[in-house]
Symmetry: C2
Subunit: 365 residues, 2 copies
Amino acid sequence: MRIDGRPYRTIWPDGDAVAVIDQTQLPFRFEIRRLATRDEAADAIRSMVVRGAPLIGATAAYGVALALRDDPSDAGLGEALRVLGATRPTAVNLAWALARMEAALRPLAPSARHGAALAEAASICDEDVAACEAIGVHGARLIAEAHARTGRTVNVLTHCNAGWLATVDWGTALSPVYKAHDAGIPVHVWVDETRPRGQGAALTAFELNAHGVPHTVIADNAGGHLMQHGQVDLCLVGSDRTTATGDVANKIGTYLKALAAHDNGVPFYVTLPLSTIDWSLEDGVREIPIEERSCREVTHVTGADEAGDLRTVRIVSPGSPAANPAFDVTPARLVTALITERGVAPASREGFLSLYPERRVGTAA
Amino acid sequence: MRIDGRPYRTIWPDGDAVAVIDQTQLPFRFEIRRLATRDEAADAIRSMVVRGAPLIGATAAYGVALALRDDPSDAGLGEALRVLGATRPTAVNLAWALARMEAALRPLAPSARHGAALAEAASICDEDVAACEAIGVHGARLIAEAHARTGRTVNVLTHCNAGWLATVDWGTALSPVYKAHDAGIPVHVWVDETRPRGQGAALTAFELNAHGVPHTVIADNAGGHLMQHGQVDLCLVGSDRTTATGDVANKIGTYLKALAAHDNGVPFYVTLPLSTIDWSLEDGVREIPIEERSCREVTHVTGADEAGDLRTVRIVSPGSPAANPAFDVTPARLVTALITERGVAPASREGFLSLYPERRVGTAA
């Protein structure tokens, strides 16, 4: 998407190296970081210079290519997979991207590996962009319908950052917003700040502002009030993991917004690529383990002081403990529909199977 | 309640003056401020050295007494009412306390006014303490019942600060917690941080910690997840304004927690003194105007740096606007019961009238 009118992806090849947007500096500074070696790519993932599951996978893929430029041997490939795989061990896209790189490269002669790795990493990026853009096309239709129905600006509420900064381009939840905005449909986004890490206030607000999409940041507490008063036409959120039955694990607080949407008749859409569906799970609330993160994310906040320098301050009363569950599960009954790269479907096993008939067991298909 | 083992109220007479806890310094510093004149009392209200509707009323009452010590004439009384009444014009308890002081003092000879004013201010404080303590007694029974049912620590979730710091003592939502804790019932409080102003993280956490009540601060997003997993036995919140039908206007985000409680079968109790009931209102969502506060409360956060100095940092992406509705309305259908100084009743017109039969119109009573 655009920053100050110029189109960007979050990662792109840059001569002998790969370039990324340094997301640790956002929203206060926009800096490009050049990653020239395997270890610089690994560091970028580990230190969250890049974040968001699809972008982590893409960076790891380029990291393999950088490693093979220096050492295309079997040993060099194995070491690259090991080093890059250890950076964020729980990120499912990381393991997926590295397995795909290995499958493509291991059979090749060492001399062919560097070039093939660059091509494979580029394919991973392009496929992510295509999937996210397709989600945008399908979702934008829902925004266009809301506009046709009301004749006024469509108010979308989103939670956390499921925007292009978390992917290679377009994003998931925000892709329909960009598609609608670029098509001239008037759209405005209520951006949940998304405590405790503040991805909405920092990243979603930054990317919407940079692309020129009207938006307003709100406290996470405010969404229910806005929905009670008709100020939200639809909700769009991402998903970190989705059960085969349509339950959605996403950033903590998503469930509360889904409850408010349900209570006020506001459509609540979850956007997701195929890769987040866990076909083995039936009951999200009972089966999906929820990561408990550092309580310091709750007790302390980092922001920019008047001089623009980043500072960290304590906001919780000293001596008081804190807890920090990072995700919650929104039951499928609260989800109006799922928006995937293949289209829109009800949040149910049948809904998924209508989009992914190849997953149907025991049929002639 | 206690701070470091020593009992306090939020306001008390101190020789010729009145002493208050300086709440602008909490939670990082505990300082007593001595208010020796009418203008010092007015400044304390205006600058939020004291906050919380009942405490504002009590401080204004003592402010009248301080004014009459220096000038007990009709002119002195009138000027005191004017100056103090202009400090926080929307606080309903402020106008109520000043009207009560005027009614008690205007008929008296000037020479009798200072002493009578001190006595009336003390009565206002004592009556607030008694009402809050009675709420605690009624509410603690519900905590005791939960403990008897489960045999383990009772987990209470609260939002914002409806504790003793907002009143003269005991508080409203936290009064049942203190009563239960002091009676030896094991109780633990999940404290919503309560963005954007952070009254939970700062004040509720401070007072629970100071009194020795086990508690854990959480992001406002976390309550639904905790309720889904059986980690909340009941919710206790305050009310800024309550309709005759039991709809509750309270700090923004209360409605979202009520939805989650309802969805998970967790009892959701609202504590309130008679004074917050607005008998003229029928439909809280439609009729209660919601204050829109400064967006700077959303975009900026103040906390203590490592040296303990207070610093303000920006957390929202520069250039992005913010909105800040300060309250929301929880419909009566989501409220399990109301806890008042007269007892516990359903959140409905009939429920209120069972506690306040003198409000029944057209009956022999």
